[in-house]
């Protein structure tokens, strides 16, 4: 199911409302969870909600690339980490205003995605996967070599972002509200984008590039634009994460993070953007719960992933086929 399929129904406005529903459900669910955490006075709860929403934003941006654009990037941790470093580096220069830091995080992550994407998009299939992974690893090592910004170990950010000097993100609840708001706006904007002329071309290019070429359109620029948008949104997620942990290190860009983002996208289903939110919730909750019981929780995650791929393989395949036949 794609958003456009709901839009197509006669009387488009009712269809569009349907398309908005998953987005609203996501936002309300996060808001409700945050309200409960706030009501209980649990700062841990607020932190968790904010963190999950930030990862959900990153996963949604990747889902846009994979599910709508057919661009299986295995380097999505890179724009995420670049967004985080934007907070750290800007902070070192005493720039903490959100209205600067957020656009900065978006723009620098988008720039990286475009620069590397211009080369990666010359290729297809496994080449694309490996090249995105390799470029992400490159930026990982670059970050690790920035001795002025903590090198391998990373360093603490000067302070959480502000709004014209006001320390609006001091409370974890406010930070979570910002994360949920950004997630909601991103989902709405991407829904719109997917149904637009541009989105139609992007999706057609994913499903049947030969035909699109025969119809006179080479989707290269559309894909590059998609990488910029997806990368930029991941950068925003990075800004949120850096604010939350108040610490930035190359570990944010570890390629395992890219892998986990893909896990979130596929667990939630690649057909719908909101599915990635569900995937992000599942993985983050698994991390938190299993992680408390055992330091070896990754074993559990690995088993879940392999089981899902092998057992639900047929379903997944049908699902992927459904949008790629």
């Amino acid at each position: 199911m794609t958003v456009a399929e709901t839009v197509r129904k006669p009387g488009g406005s009712a269809g569009l409302r349907l398309a908005l529903q998953p987005t609203l459900v996501c936002v309300f669910a996060f808001a409700a969870a945050l309200a409960v955490a706030h009501g209980l006075g649990s700062s841990y709860g607020a932190t968790m909600v904010g963190r999950t929403a930030a990862f959900a934003l990153a996963a949604v941006s990747l889902s846009f690339l994979i599910g709508q654009g057919g661009l299986v990037s295995f380097g999505h941790a890179a724009p995420l980490g670049i967004g985080a470093y934007a907070v750290l580096i800007a902070g070192e220069y005493d720039v903490t205003n959100l209205l600067v830091v957020l656009p900065l995080g978006f723009a620098s992550a988008a720039l990286f995605s475009v620069a590397t994407g211009a080369i990666a998009l010359r290729t297809r299939g496994v080449y694309f996967i490996m090249i995105t992974l390799a470029f992400a690893q490159m930026i990982f090592y670059v970050a690790a070599s920035l001795s002025a910004f903590g090198g391998d170990d990373g360093m603490a950010v000067a302070s959480r972002s502000t709004l014209f000097g006001m320390r609006v993100l001091k409370s974890d609840t406010n930070l979570a509200i910002l994360a949920i708001a950004l997630l909601g706006v991103a989902l709405l904007a991407l829904d719109r984008l997917v149904a637009s002329r541009y989105g139609l071309m992007l999706r057609a290019g994913r499903a049947n590039e030969t035909k699109l070429q025969a119809l006179g359109l080479d989707p290269y620029r559309h894909r590059l634009t998609a990488l910029a948008i997806g990368g930029g949104l991941a950068g925003l997620a990075g800004v949120l994460l850096a604010n939350q942990v108040e610490y930035v290190s190359p570990a944010t860009m570890n390629w395992h993070v890219s892998g986990e983002l893909i896990v979130m996208v596929v667990l939630g289903g690649t057909g719908r953007l909101a599915g990635a939110v569900l995937g992000a919730v599942v993985v983050t909750v698994l991390d938190e719960t299993l992680g408390h019981f055992t330091e070896h929780w990754k074993l559990g995650l690995g088993l879940v992933i392999v089981a899902v791929v092998l057992l639900r393989g047929a379903d997944l395949k049908a699902l992927l086929r459904g949008t790629s036949a």
């Binding site: 456009a4 197509r8 002329r197 139609l200 049947n208 699109l212 070429q213």
Partner: protein, 251 residues
């Protein structure tokens, strides 16, 4: 008489030692249905690929609307007005019929980067797409997924996707292949209705269709043009009879 829509000028193409296209020259005039026939292995598919821009000839030129397009790729030729219907139906199975035609309409519209307005709520675009579906008789099926359409319907859909782009030339690669008798008949009627409105290069096995539709026929044998002429001349040509029509059920 104005210039032909498509001119092939002594095209040559080899794969290793195998010469699959040998000095092929032909033209398609405005409004004409020009059929390209030939036994299996005559090199029709390779020739179609060279016309569409998927393959470059080793030598020779392809002229389209008076312009040398030999070095242009598939997408660039399509933008000039070369519509193509594939041998194996090539539509987006997970899109509805309407969405498929909308893809074609948007691709040739010059506005492929609109990011805010939902494409299918654009009245003009929708009307254009529905009109194309109407022309091929698929308007009742516009909300069905293309993957769920019958074989012949998918062919018609592909045709609608071409028509919505107002092509100057339709390159039809075996449109009858795999269609049932009834479907084939409807498709032939459809093509007959297009006759005169747009130039068509028809690559086809089905002799019934070819002789009903074609104004001229070119016969390709071993990668070279054996004969080009009006249907009755081709039918009577001894070389053709021996090499080709003899093998199949002649009309």
């Amino acid at each position: 008489m104005s210039e032909p829509v498509l001119v092939l000028d002594t095209l040559d193409k080899s794969f290793g030692a195998l010469r699959v296209t040998q000095g092929v020259s032909l033209d398609v005039r405005q409004g004409e249905v020009h059929a390209l026939i030939g036994p299996n292995g005559a090199g029709k598919t390779t020739l179609v690929a060279q016309i569409a821009g998927a393959l470059r000839p080793d030598s020779g030129h392809v002229r389209f609307l008076g312009r040398d397009v030999t070095n242009l790729g598939v997408a660039a030729r399509a933008r000039l007005g070369l519509g193509r219907v594939f041998q194996i139906s090539n539509v987006v199975g997970s899109f509805t019929a309407l969405e498929n035609v909308a893809v074609a309409a948007v691709a040739s519209s010059g506005d492929t980067f609109g990011m805010w307005r939902p494409a299918l709520r654009d009245r003009a675009l929708r009307a254009k797409a529905e009109d194309a579906l109407e022309r091929v008789g698929l308007v009742e099926r516009m909300s069905s997924l293309a993957g769920d359409l019958a074989h012949g319907e998918r062919r018609a859909l592909e045709l609608a996707m071409s028509l919505v782009q107002n092509p100057k030339l339709l390159l039809l690669d075996e449109p009858m292949a795999g269609t049932g008798r009834g479907e084939g008949e409807r498709l032939t009627e459809l093509l007959l209705s297009l006759k005169g409105q747009v130039a068509i290069l028809l690559v086809e096995h089905d002799m019934n269709t070819v002789f009903r539709l074609a104004d001229r026929i070119t016969v390709l044998i071993y990668g070279a043009v054996a004969v080009t002429g009006a249907p009755e001349d081709v039918r009577g040509d001894p070389i053709v009879r021996r090499a080709y029509l003899g093998e199949e059920e002649a009309v």
